[in-house]
Symmetry: C2
Subunit: 228 residues, 2 copies
């Protein structure tokens, strides 16, 4: 299985702007990407980052990944839309076998799935449906495993329902993967609490370095940022 | 495994009051409870509802459950706090075996897990750790399997982290169950979109009968309520 990770290099995570400055958002986005790559490598795959502009993961933001992750990861620059860039990497028709499936399976994992673990990815990648989908909150598609050359993505709008429909229209089998870790993309200030509770390495460390910590208020848990 | 489902009969789901009237909230809460009970029965267990006041599931709100669910379900009235009512049902010390574990395992499933399926519950109930926890968003504890008589719950605040600590303090093993369906308790208006996308039976039907439907706005999916 080839595994691709689309990554928006410029002005990422704009919905976090109420709580993180521009440079912090860029730093945090790379920390999340590093955690996603680490989980993919731990699951035994070699990820390709589809970056919208040239990046050096470890430059500029004082981020250090392990030798294993550095060596396993390839970065390709592709400034097309998310949908176009991903479709260009999905299984090719000519690689199809007699039964219509393909050995050239492709995993697509979003770069902001900061809670991702190798176990969660294994559940996504180890099935045998033509398409496996890990839905995100609000009907998004957070991660995919595509094993059939007829499937194409369309990330606009309610992509989870759209992707089910696209698969059904081609008579493909679909599996929905029930994972809280894969369902939790980190988009909004409320999501940061999940990073501090369930995050794996770089992302929670970076948030703490920015002064964020868990806080209990009215019996519920949220994040607070220290003043200094 | 005994499975208990705590249920607040009076004024449930107050955080849904911006979008649902009092009677609608009570109706919707029962629909979610019915879906949770159905999943528990489909997984092969006989649920006990811990109700804060006497209820008849099918009276008053035009809700019809299957014969199988009706016959498998027991309702016990317990007006103590959630923590006290659940602790009173956890495995008893005297039932412990030589290795400290107990055959008298207990599952605790919240009544607002409208996306629950038998598969998700099986993953929670089939492990062998002393305590298995399905965390909710924001550090809550949405579902538990307790297999050791020394464990006790405390639902106040960040209960997921507290429950891990309570288990660790007694030297118990803990498993975290990675399930989007079990992580999604339906508390707030934003959660209703998940019921319409991933709900199983009564809860999505009831929301649609109230006029709710999915709506795409600015490339994101939300719910809208028709005027009539």
């Amino acid at each position: 299985m080839r595994v691709v990770v689309p990554f928006a290099v410029e002005s990422p995570k704009t919905r976090l702007s109420p709580v993180l400055a521009d440079r912090e958002r860029r730093s945090f986005a790379r920390a999340m990407l590093a955690d996603v790559l680490r989980a993919i490598v731990a699951a035994g795959y070699e990820p390709t980052v589809l970056a919208t502009a040239p990046i050096d993961l470890e430059a500029d933001f004082d981020l250090t990944v392990s030798d294993e992750v550095r060596e396993a990861t390839t970065i390709e620059v592709d400034d097309r839309s998310l949908t176009e860039a991903v479709n260009a990497r999905l299984p090719a028709g000519e690689a199809g076998k007699d039964d219509g499936t393909t050995d050239d399976a492709v995993g697509v994992v979003m770069a902001d799935l900061a809670l991702t673990t190798a176990d969660a990815l294994e559940r996504l990648f180890s099935g045998d449906a033509d398409v496996a989908i890990a839905p995100g909150r609000g009907g998004g598609t957070n991660a995919l495993a595509v094993r059939h050359p007829e499937f194409r993505v369309d990330y606009h709008g309610a992509s989870y329902l759209d992707h089910r429909e696209i698969a059904a229209d081609s008579g493909l089998t679909v599996e929905t993967v029930d994972s809280f870790r894969l369902a939790t993309d980190i988009d909004e200030p409320d999501d940061l609490v999940e990073v501090l509770i369930h995050g794996t390495e770089h992302a929670p460390t970076r948030l703490r370095s920015f002064g964020f910590e868990l806080e209990e208020r009215d019996g519920r848990v949220t994040v607070a940022r220290s003043a200094d």
